[in-house]
């Protein structure tokens, strides 16, 4: 077999319940990448076994996963529910001020004990049998541990200290908190690489964050489509009429589609320009461009320059579960929570900075209409990704094209008419997945 063919073990519980014929079919499934990086097979997005391996090797593998903002946990005892891949975790601020990330799964009978989205507690008590954990996940109480009247109870050898919640490796950079299942992780700065780190630090510039609210929605598509959509500057000038009409992004704008050395992270960046500067030929190509449209609330598209950056818009895709949105002055975190190959959940955390006056906060909230599940652009992206997943699920075992910008095989490109960043992501993905 050539190197681009790989076997992924079928799930063992399926083997047991299914008959031998289906077993054989499952075992015979071969994951063949068709040629080079310019064509992506649909099974990458639709296959249950591929998804299971992604959870193991990517979300629970050597990656830093976004879990929350320190601004959401200002006081000891504060907690938020979050996710690493599909796995429910709790992020806590312990009494000593440290931030801890633990699995939301009681070691006793596996109950997801924390049900509130956020709150403040002294300890976590599993409601089923009241096993109790401190804010770092140490098991500190087991009711009737010695039984009643000398009968029952836990074995004498049961040592609480050996049965805490599964604790994850935690790091925090400029108030943004990440967790990893691996203890041998590189530093966050090394993980991002210098160029993507620079963009990260342009948004998280040291000012204290102020959370303005959340959105949550589920999307009927594969989680990687969200990364790809933000590594695909080509779509932005074509799908998003709104963006183009009002000059936020047009073909020919100064722009950059950056990737890190590994190919897993990316930053789509552009500088706002006036639509009157667009040439007639470019307008013709951009079917989305419509002459003479104007907003009544003109303040909406104002850009207050508050960042040390040449870009008015940056969309950073931080592998594997974080998008940082800096769309002029509307700032947001988007956290990807995969839920099988065909669905994922997005949790958005919109923020501003301590010190924003009322008018600046209002400006951020007004500009927030661009993004999110009801955003002028956001809702279009959600719809487009759904269309893609429908296309892949309903015509099985095909592949599709990412051939734009052949001059760059995979990596950073300074033209918007490029899919080189998507190819870079798949170069990395194939390496991690062994396919």
């Amino acid at each position: 077999m050539s190197a681009n063919i790989s076997q992924i073990e079928p799930r063992t519980d399926v083997e047991k319940v299914r008959g031998p014929i289906e077993n054989t079919v499952l075992f015979d499934r071969q994951y063949v990448w068709p040629g080079d990086l310019t064509e992506i097979p649909d099974w990458v997005y639709t296959d249950e076994n591929v998804y299971r391996r992604e959870v193991e090797r990517i979300f629970h593998g050597p990656t830093w996963n976004y879990v929350g903002l320190e601004a959401e946990l200002p006081n000891p005892g504060d907690f938020i529910r979050s996710h690493v891949g599909p796995t429910s975790v709790v992020v806590t601020r312990a009494k000593d001020g440290s931030i801890n990330v633990v699995e939301n799964r009681c070691v006793h009978r596996a109950a997801e004990f924390c049900r509130e989205l956020s709150g403040n507690v002294n300890e976590f008590i599993c409601p089923y049998h009241q096993w109790t954990y401190d804010l770092k996940g140490n098991l500190i109480g087991v009711p009737f541990r010695r039984g009643v009247g000398g009968k029952g109870g836990m074995p004498k050898s049961f040592n609480l200290a050996e049965h805490g919640l599964r604790r994850l490796n935690v790091t925090s950079h400029r108030g943004v908190v990440f967790a990893s299942y691996r203890d041998d992780m590189e530093s966050f700065a090394d993980y991002l690489g210098p160029e993507v780190l620079r963009e990260f630090e342009a948004t998280f510039d040291g000012r204290k964050l102020k959370v303005l609210g959340h959105y949550r929605h589920s999307l009927p598509g594969n989680w990687k489509l969200y990364h790809e959509n933000l590594k695909d500057p080509y779509h932005a000038t074509l799908l998003h009429t709104f963006l183009v009409t009002f000059g936020l992004l047009v073909a020919g704008n100064r722009s950059l589609m950056l990737t890190d050395k590994s190919g897993r992270h990316g930053v789509m960046a552009s500088a706002k320009s006036e639509t009157k500067n667009i040439g007639a030929a470019e307008k013709k190509e951009m079917r989305a461009y419509k002459e003479g449209m104007a907003l009544r609330e003109t303040r909406f598209m104002d850009f207050v320059q508050e960042f040390d950056s040449p870009w008015s818009v940056t969309m950073s895709t931080i592998w594997p579960n974080l998008i940082v949105q800096r769309e002029m002055n509307t700032l947001g975190i988007r956290q990807i929570v995969p839920n099988g190959p065909d669905e994922f959940i997005m949790k958005w955390t919109m923020f501003g900075f301590e010190g924003d006056d009322d008018e600046m906060t209002r400006h951020r909230l007004r500009q927030g209409n661009l993004m999110g599940p009801a955003g002028f652009l956001g809702l279009e992206d959600n719809e487009a990704m759904k269309f893609v997943q429908d296309g892949m699920r309903r015509v099985p075992d095909k592949h599709h094209l990412v051939k734009l910008d052949p001059a760059t095989e995979a990596g950073t490109s300074d033209t918007l008419i490029s899919e080189a960043a998507i190819r870079a992501m798949y170069k990395h993905w194939r390496q991690e997945m062994g396919v």
Partner: protein, 172 residues
Amino acid sequence: MLDVSSAKTRDARLDALLLYQEVNEFNAAYAAALDEQRLIDWVEMFTEDAFYVVISRENADHGLPVGLIYCDSKRMIHDRAFALEKTTMFAPRYLRHIIGNLQVLGEAPDGAIRARANYVLIQVLYDRPEAKLHQVGAYHDVFRRVDGALKLAERRCIYDSLLIDNALCLPV
């Protein structure tokens, strides 16, 4: 003890009933405009300085201001309608807004009428069999009269269904 027979009390009760009916009819017309996707008609149901926001119960309960849709003037409500009609791409769909449990909470001396009502938004996509309950929530409203007619000076749509199914393409 309330003397229900006195003319004064009867007039007050009739006024309240008429106002209740007027707000009810307003809400029915509002739902019809959205169900028929007559968005420019929807815009005209607001005052010039209107505030319209669609906000999760999670945010509202925590005093966080972020809305799915956030408009602090009729100009922005107009831009929302205009953008949806002229620029935005989404799959075709039918919507039903069901508004009920209206409570008229009071009329201030300046004429502002506070009210609330529950709403249910049902969405049908052309290629799916089910009519899905897309959003459940409550309107927290302030009405004012403009040339005698009721208009919304404020409608805060606080939704309970925190996890939105893909996207909210049209207003509630």
